[in-house]
Every structure is written in C-alpha cells, then in structure tokens.
C-alpha cells in the first residue's frame, strides 16, 4: 500500500515534469500552451486533484456495482476489487485509446507532407482515434495469416480450454484465449474474424456503391421513364425494413444453396448489396440531379460526349465528397447487418471465422463473469471488436461531414 502510494505520487510528479519539458518540443497548441503556463507544480496539483476525483468516482461506481469496498479501498481499487475488472478494463481501454489517438495525431502533425500535417492539425481527437483504429483493423485483416498463431479452421485435441494461458486454471500457454467447443484456437479465430467480417462487409459495401451510384447517376442523367421506373422500384424495396427483408431473402437463399454452405455467404453478400444500394441510389440520384443542371455538364452534353464520359468524368468527380462520407456510414450499416445476420445464424457460414457467430457461440460464457472474468469477456471481445470499428468509422465520418459542411459553430 505504501509502495503503491509512493509510485503514484512519484510517478505523477515525474510525469508532470516530463510533460512540461517535452511537450513544447512537439509544437504549439492550446493544450501545450496551457501546460507550459501551468508549470510543473501546477500540473502536479491537477494530477492530485484528478486522482482524488477518479478515486471518488471509482468508489461510487464500485458501490453501485455491489462491491463492498473498504479493506482499505481494496488497496486503492480499480483493479483491486474482484467484481470490477470489466470496469477497469473499460477505463484502461478508453484511456489507452485516447492516448494512442493523441500520440497518433501529434505524430501526424510533425511527419508527412504539408497537406497531411495541416489535416492532422485541424483534427479532433475522436477523429484521429478513429483513423488509428481503422488502420489497425486494416493491418490485422490484411495480414491475418501472418499474425494469427493458427489457421481459422484448425482443430486441436483440447476443447474448451479456458483463456489466460495458466495451466493450473485449465489453460494452455499456446492458446492465450483458449479454445472453443470443438477445439479451435479462439485468438486465431478472432484475428481471422477481422479478415472475414470486415472484408466481406467491405466487398458488400463496394458492390452496393457500384450498383447504387451508377444507377443513381444514370437515373439523374437520363431522367424520364428510366428514372421513374428505378425510383419506384427503390421506393418499394425501401418499404420493408432492411433486416426483415434480408432475412426473408436469406430463407430463399439457403434453399437455393442446399448443401453447399459456402454459397450462402455469397448470396448474403449479393442480397445485402442490392438492399443497401437503394440508399446509395437515393443519395447519388439527388447529388447527380444537382450536377446535371450545371453549365459545365450542359456544355459536355452539347459537345456530344457519350454516356459513360458524362457519368464517370463529369458527375463522379463532383459527387466525390458526399459519396465518400456516405460510404463510411453505409459500411457501418452493412457491417452491423452482416454481424446481426451471422449472430442469428444465417450469415457467414462456419468454416469461416466471424465475430457475429463467435458472439452467439460464446454467449453462454457470460454467466461465469463472477468467477472467471476473462472467460466472460470472450463474447464481449468479439462483440466489442464490431462495436469499436463502427464507432471509429462513425467518428471519422462525423469529422469529415463537419469539415465539408464548413460548420464552425
């Protein structure tokens, strides 16, 4: 207890000292100025204040969650109480991600071209956190084969190994997250889940955009009965809630696929792409309508340019910004729809590892939370992976929309 206190106080003092000395080197900004003006002692004061505040909140939340605290405060809490590891993980996660986003932004401000530096300078912390997270996901997804210790369908002899890798508690160091009910390594499956779930969602979104945007622009350019025809079809498709319609079509798809289970995944991609392209169609048609009435478009038309030139060279470059923001949002929706379908058991099919199915398969473990928090965290890990990516994309899209709309508020 005493050593802990010493570490806390000493570490805090060192940290405030380091912050004061090091930060001005990273450039100037409001935060840096503030830190410089406050001085080392002032910073330390804030640190103590923050600590006391955190401890108060900690005690209160701990009380709410039913942990009977003192003994003295379970040796300065957060990690102390056995019931609170989830909260502790959450807090640590948020702080870690916040710091990572901050460092990433500081890095982007000092490295790179003038343009990218300027972009990072204007970026809020949420957006830099979002970009960093997306980057990590992309790297994990692309290099899953190298990162993952085992293959996604590799089956081991020892089933239901507990996570943690401690042999005394029923774990195995070679399977840090344990194995599932038929003996597949969960860490590998989690990593491959990035490849499959994110990859399939990405392909689906691209397909939806290809279909929706090209038809939308065509409708805007051609107008007349073609426009009317497509718009009415889209109206009709949008009258049924998307997930419900997807479920109905998946019933038919499973009948078509018969015993060839992998076909179901392909059908799912097609079904969701078509259903989602309706939204893209609406947007790109609206954007296209505004471009079609411009003078430069009129001029191109009078020059006698053909249809593909009009769509891809005149409309597309001018519709780029709203479409890109929409791409982020649509990706989130597609990603969540696929995860929901997989969770319900009719999405991505077994040999492929994916997060939605993992959540479903591991969901019973949540009942062990009081005894083995790590085991209970497994389904939440997969679900959290889904949530984290969508949150990250949403943050970035929010920032992009804010920037392109020129809102300063």
């Amino acid at each position: 207890m005493l050593t802990q206190l010493a570490i806390w106080v000493g570490g805090g003092f060192l940290a405030s000292l380091a912050l004061n000395r090091a930060l001005p080197g990273l450039g100037t900004g409001r935060v840096q100025d503030w830190i410089k003006n406050t001085g080392t002692v002032g910073m330390f004061g804030y640190y103590i204040l923050a600590t006391v505040l955190v401890l108060l909140v900690d005690y209160y939340v701990g009380f709410l969650m039913g942990a009977n605290m003192p003994e003295w405060f379970k040796s300065i809490s957060l990690l102390g109480s056995t019931r609170l590891p989830f909260l502790a993980w959450l807090l640590h996660g948020i702080v870690m991600f916040g710091v990572a986003g901050f460092i990433f932004r500081a890095l982007g401000r000092s490295v790179g071209t003038e343009l990218s530096r300027k972009m990072f300078r204007q970026m809020p912390i949420t957006a830099s956190f979002g970009i960093l997270t997306i980057l990590i996901y992309v790297i994990v997804a692309v290099f899953a084969d190298i990162i993952a210790p085992y293959g996604q369908a590799e089956v081991f002899d020892r089933i239901n190994l507990l996570p943690g890798g401690n042999p005394d508690l029923g774990g195995d160091p070679s399977h840090p997250l344990g194995t599932d009910q038929i003996g597949r390594d969960l860490l590998s499956r989690l990593i491959f889940g990035a490849q499959n779930t994110v990859g399939i969602a990405f392909v689906t979104t691209c397909l939806a955009f290809f279909i929706g945007a090209s038809l939308g622009f065509l409708a805007a350019t051609l107008g007349g009965w073609f426009d009317q025809f497509l718009s009415r079809i889209v109206d009709m498709l949008m009258a049924i809630p998307q997930l419900i319609f997807a479920l109905l079509l998946m019933t038919i798809a499973t009948a078509w696929a018969g015993s060839e289970r992998w076909l179901i995944t392909i059908y799912m991609i097609l079904i969701i792409a078509v259903l989602d392209s309706t939204r893209v169609f609406r947007l790109s048609r609206a954007v296209g309508m505004n471009i079609v009435v411009m003078d430069f478009f009129e001029a191109a038309k009078l020059r006698g340019e053909n249809l593909s030139y009009l769509v891809f060279r005149e409309i597309l470059p001018n519709a780029y910004a709203p479409l890109l923001a929409e791409f982020g949002l649509r990706f989130c929706f597609v990603f969540l729809t696929i995860a929901a379908l997989s969770f319900l058991g009719i999405g991505i099919q077994p040999p492929l590892a994916d997060w939605g199915t993992m959540v479903k398969d591991l969901s019973q473990f949540i009942n062990f939370a009081a005894f083995s928090p790590l085991t209970a965290a497994l389904p939440l890990l997969a679900a959290g992976a889904i949530a984290l990516l969508t949150v990250a994309v949403n943050f970035v899209v929010d920032w992009m929309l804010h920037r392109s709309s020129g809102l300063k508020e």
Binding site: G66, I244, I252, A255, S363, A370, L380, A383, I386, V391
Partner: protein, 332 residues
C-alpha cells in the same frame, strides 16, 4: 379544413398501395423457391402421388396470380395459412393437412401481443428520456453535457444490439443479479412479473432507440432555436424559461412527434435481434426460427406484419408532419 382531409385520405391511399406492392414483393420472392411448397414439406424422398396430394391441398396447382389473390384475401380475413412445421407433424401423425390445423394466425397472435408489450414498455421509457436529453443537449449545446451525450449516443448507435444486450446482461443479471437474463413469458402471468421479465430487453431497446431519438430531437430543436421568432422573443427581453416553454416548445412539438414515430419504426429491426438474445417469445424470435427451418408461411406472415408496422408508423409520421406544419399542405 376539407383540404387536410383530402390530403390525409390521399396519404392513406398511398400507404395502402405500398402495402399491396409489398405483399406482391413478398409473395413473389417466396415463389422464387426451387421446387414448391409441397416438395419442401415432404423433402427428398417424396413420392409423386404424395406431392400431388399436398399440392392439391394447398392449392398449388392453381396459376400464380390466382394463388396470390387467394392468399391476399386470406390475409385480409386474418388467415395466414398453415405452418409447415405443424403440417409436418400432422403428416407424421397420419392426419391430412386440414385447414384448421396449426394455422399461422394461431401461432402469431400471442407472440404479437408479447412483442407489442415489449415495444410499449420500451416506448414508455425511451420517449420521455430521449426528448428530455435531446432538449437539454440542444439548449446547452457545445457544453460538456452536450459532448458527453453526443459521444455516448454515437457509441450506442454504432454498437450492434447484441453487444448492448450482453453488456446489460453482464451488469444487471450476472454481476448484480437484479433482473432475469432470460425472459420466459407465458400466458396468465401477472403484470408485475411480466414487466420484470421483459425489463432487460426493453432496456436494451431503449438504449438503441434513445440514441437515435435524442440526436434527432437535438437537431430539430437547434434548427428551431435559430429561427427568427425565437430571436424576436429573446430581443423582447423574455426570460429564457419563457422563451422555451411558450415559444419554442409548441413549435417543436411537430418535429418531435415526427421523430418519435420514425424511431418506433426503427425499433422493428432491433426487436428481432433483441428477442433472440433474451429468448423473448415475440414475433422476432418466431421469425428467425422460421427462417432457420424454412417455414415459409410463417416467414411470409411475419415479414408482412413487420412491413405493415413499418409502413403504418412512417405514414403516421407523415400525416403528423402535415397536420402540424401548414406549409406542407400546399405542395408546390
């Protein structure tokens, strides 16, 4: 006032037309199935005679258009046909596929009530809370409260429903056993019990819907506060409280009603996943189960029901908007 009546009747007509198109779409989609119902019921080893018999029983030997109208008129009278799963049972039991055996409507009715109960409880929580938070966030925009509300709601919108559901189970059912994590609801339960059992699913749905509603309410109010008549009221020197209560709120009612109706429509998708997580015996659960065993008539009926609710709520939002905003009554 005759104008309003006409517009509403027109909207209702449009809604009916949409419903009709949707029913055609659903019916058409189901008929894309390879083989037909008879084959699906009997499976691979069916003799041609048995297939013929069932085809005759179900009226599958009629042309497609005629079958559609038979089905549609049945639906209009509350007859959704018979469930395949039950038909299977009856064929094993040696009875023929009679008209009154295991009808879809019988299966749907109790579950429909359950789902409506869940939706009702959710709405009861979500509507006041989200409107309150939304209005507060709009009034104190760009404050810490607004930022925190913004980030929290964005996170809860972005998370899949099952993630929120399991987090709630973890906190409220496993770590602190306050609420039951499974909602087994049966007929003849007393109200308090029923409410307790459906509390967790309702809370999950509340989280999802509140986020949407709060953000939309905030946007609507901010829009309103920027309008000239609010500025006028402020310049007259009225107290902020008075400005909000007597000038802003009556005008904000319209967008808020609209927001509520639209988000209740959004609830429909959420219901499916949440009911599966909590094993809540509602329509969503039935829908997913039927999709898995390919019980086509049930799937068809559930899909139609969800679509109807969706269209109805959107229609309500539309009509409310027209009623509350006179400008919409005179489209250019």
């Amino acid at each position: 006032m005759a104008g309003i009546g006409l517009i509403i009747i027109k909207r209702l007509g449009l809604g009916l037309l949409t419903m009709l198109m949707v029913s055609i779409l659903i019916f058409g989609a189901v008929n894309l199935l390879p083989g037909d119902f008879a084959q699906a019921i009997l499976g691979q080893g069916a003799t041609p005679e048995a297939v013929q018999a069932i085809r005759r029983d179900l009226g599958l030997d009629q042309p497609l258009v005629e079958r559609y109208f038979t089905w549609l008129f049945g639906v209009l009278q509350g007859d959704f046909g018979n469930s395949f799963a039950e038909l299977n049972f009856s064929s094993y039991g040696g009875t023929t596929a009679s008209a009154n055996f295991g009808s879809v409507a019988d299966k749907l009715a109790p579950r429909f009530n359950n789902t409506m109960f869940l939706a009702g409880v959710t709405a009861l929580f979500a509507v006041p809370v989200s409107i309150l938070i939304g209005v507060l966030a709009a009034l104190y925009r760009n404050s810490i409260f607004d930022r925190v509300a913004n980030i929290t709601t964005l996170t809860s919108i972005s998370s899949p429903e099952f993630f929120l559901a399991y987090i709630l189970i973890l906190i409220l059912a496993v770590l602190n056993p306050i609420l039951p994590s499974l909602s087994n609801i049966y007929d003849g339960m007393d109200f308090a019990d029923r409410l307790e059992r459906s509390m967790l699913p309702a809370l999950t749905l509340t989280l999802v819907v509140t986020a949407h509603m709060m953000r939309m309410t905030r946007a609507a109010i901010i829009n309103l506060l920027a309008s000239p008549f609010i500025e006028m009221a402020r310049l007259k020197g009225l107290s902020p409280f008075r400005v909000i209560l007597f000038h802003a709120l009556p005008n904000a009612l319209a967008p808020i009603i609209n927001v509520v109706a639209l988000n209740l429509a959004f609830l429909i998708t959420g219901v499916v996943v949440v009911e599966v997580v909590f094993v809540y015996p509602g329509i969503g659960q039935l829908f997913v189960d039927s999709v898995k065993i390919r019980d086509i008539p049930v799937v068809q009926a559930c899909c139609l029901l969800f679509a109807a609710a969706y269209i109805l709520l959107n229609l309500t939002a539309d009509i409310m908007a027209i009623l509350s905003n006179p400008r919409l009554r005179h489209p250019k």
